[in-house]
Symmetry: C2
Subunit: 330 residues, 2 copies
């Protein structure tokens, strides 16, 4: 037995007992860019494959200021108090530039972070093969193999991150605020096509009435759109992470959505589609890596880079030449 096999087997064996230390090390392994770690990660995930798929994968999104972290703390606490094992992962594309993470500061979720049934993992940087999305996808699987019942995947508010997270969860919960500006319309349109459960958050105090009106407005709007899950009517609830109102109801809706997914057979379909998307991203990353590892292509790449620097070639022409050299090799 090579050291590699021993490592992976031991790590996997510890992980499936629910050892969060092993879970953390396993996630660190899949985040690694070292070739030997990448193949270990592939082996580990293949070994754990049969133990994955049982958790409720819930994506939680909403624009900055909507109260995501307080909401997740409230929801997560509700779940662990009910005896469920809850993992919280984050997808934060900005961490590629800022190096920071929307979950880096665990004090945001102090109560949850210290609960024995909870596991909180900050957003990875995009260094790993396939970037933040790939590592988060695999982290979900590792959490499932470690026996977590619920995996909450938090994302920053708009743009690609919404689509990325909706593409790796079963149920996509979006938090909204009452009285959002008109300019949000463009974003909302995109989000309403992804949402499975909608919450109008911060529905407390003087904001309670406007929030109820907003909820009614969203219900009307959603009637006009085809839901992400065929045959599912997207429920809209008011919530307050402050006083806990609406949190259990929203969770029940997430469970109802899951039942609908299972009963309709759409859960399998959706997860299959998500795995295909994951495959595509991994292929993209692997191809780039293979190209960089070919010395002839690397030489051609260096050549066109000089031309780019000299301003004598466009990126498109440069790409064509490098691709030609890579595809001509053999």
């Amino acid at each position: 037995m090579t050291r590699k096999e021993i490592d992976v087997d031991a790590l996997g064996a510890a992980l499936v007992t629910g050892d969060v230390g092993a879970l953390s090390r396993a996630i660190t392994l899949i985040e690694s860019t070292l070739p030997e770690d990448r193949s270990r990660a592939t082996t580990l995930l293949a070994q754990l494959h049969a133990r994955t798929g049982d958790a409720v994968r819930l994506g939680i999104s909403g624009v900055p200021g909507v109260g995501k972290s307080t909401f997740i703390e409230a929801l997560g606490t509700h779940l662990v108090n009910g005896g469920a094992k809850v993992a919280v992962l984050a997808v934060d594309p900005t961490s590629t530039r800022s190096g920071g993470s929307i979950l880096g500061d665990k004090t945001r979720m102090q109560e949850l972070a210290h609960h024995p049934l909870a596991f909180i993992r900050p957003s990875p940087t995009s260094g790993a093969l396939g970037g933040v999305a790939a590592t988060t996808r695999d982290s979900i699987l590792l959490c499932e193999a470690a026996g977590f019942d619920v995996v909450l995947v938090e994302t920053v508010g708009v743009g690609q991150s919404e689509i990325t997270v909706a593409g790796m969860v079963d149920c996509f919960l979006v938090l909204m605020l009452a009285g959002a500006g008109d300019e949000l319309q463009g974003i909302k349109r995109g989000i309403l096509e992804l949402v499975d459960v909608l919450a109008i958050n911060k529905s407390d105090g003087e904001n309670e009435q406007p929030s109820k009106l907003a909820a009614a407005e969203y219900r009307r709007a959603l009637k006009l759109m085809s839901p992400r899950t065929p045959g599912w009517v997207v429920p809209v609830h008011n919530s307050s992470a402050l006083n806990g109102a609406g949190i259990p109801e929203l969770w029940d809706q997430a469970l109802a959505h899951r039942e609908h997914l299972v009963a309709s057979g759409f859960l399998e379909q959706q997860r299959a589609a998500q795995e295909l998307e994951s495959l595509e991203k991994l292929l993209e990353a692997g191809l780039m890596l293979a190209m960089r590892e070919d010395s002839t292509v690397q030489a051609k790449l260096d050549e066109v880079v000089l031309e780019l620097r000299a301003g004598t070639m466009t990126p498109r022409s440069a790409a064509e030449r490098v691709l030609a050299s890579f595809l001509a090799r053999g």
Copy 2:
């Protein structure tokens, strides 16, 4: 002469006269996914290459609700009234899912949209090779070849789109609002590392005083960070698209930033780095295309897809097999 050469030459000849119809057709060409169109686009861009690079490339960002479109209308009008030719492009990752566009509704910028010196192009969908970012990068070049003095690139508020747009412009202008929630901190941190000029928008009426305090706060915060452009002190201004206050000052700051870029020689460096990034994205897209066009690899892909569907293989293992088959060919 083949028909292709005639097409591209004629299109390029019309475009460089400032013909916006030709510019629109050229952008449509680079957005096309048809192989013959892709090579035409590459040829066209190579032909126009010498005429590109002279515009002020200004990225404009800010979270939804900050007043981006009204601000761009005000800034763009200020510029065209000064005799400048202004192009407005948009990057909206959500358009990959919603099919919509943050600039789809030109009524958002009615005055500017109908000005003879202005050109407004909605965000492309990500169908084209290299996606929204690649087509927007090339659209900037086409606008420059068509004689536009200023290219404004608008983006939705947070996440990858910020980084994408900052990666294709010379100057990145970010709009902020006074009294933003704590949860914005994570986002701000990322944005403040990208920003070249900062505007506290909607600084009018009762919001004027809070906006001035916010501006002071941002100036303090920015002192603690290394600017994107070495040696540049990020200016913070209050602005009101409503009454036009601060708009000319912000434009002057964008010009001052450009002068600093040119004088420090950093403009060339930054654009060179951006071209390299563009090359990388194009290679990624081109490799995936080449792989799909290889029948042997396509067969292997079909095979592992069946295994994925059957749940007998993980995406990572599937990717490894397909890559092996692609790299073994030749």
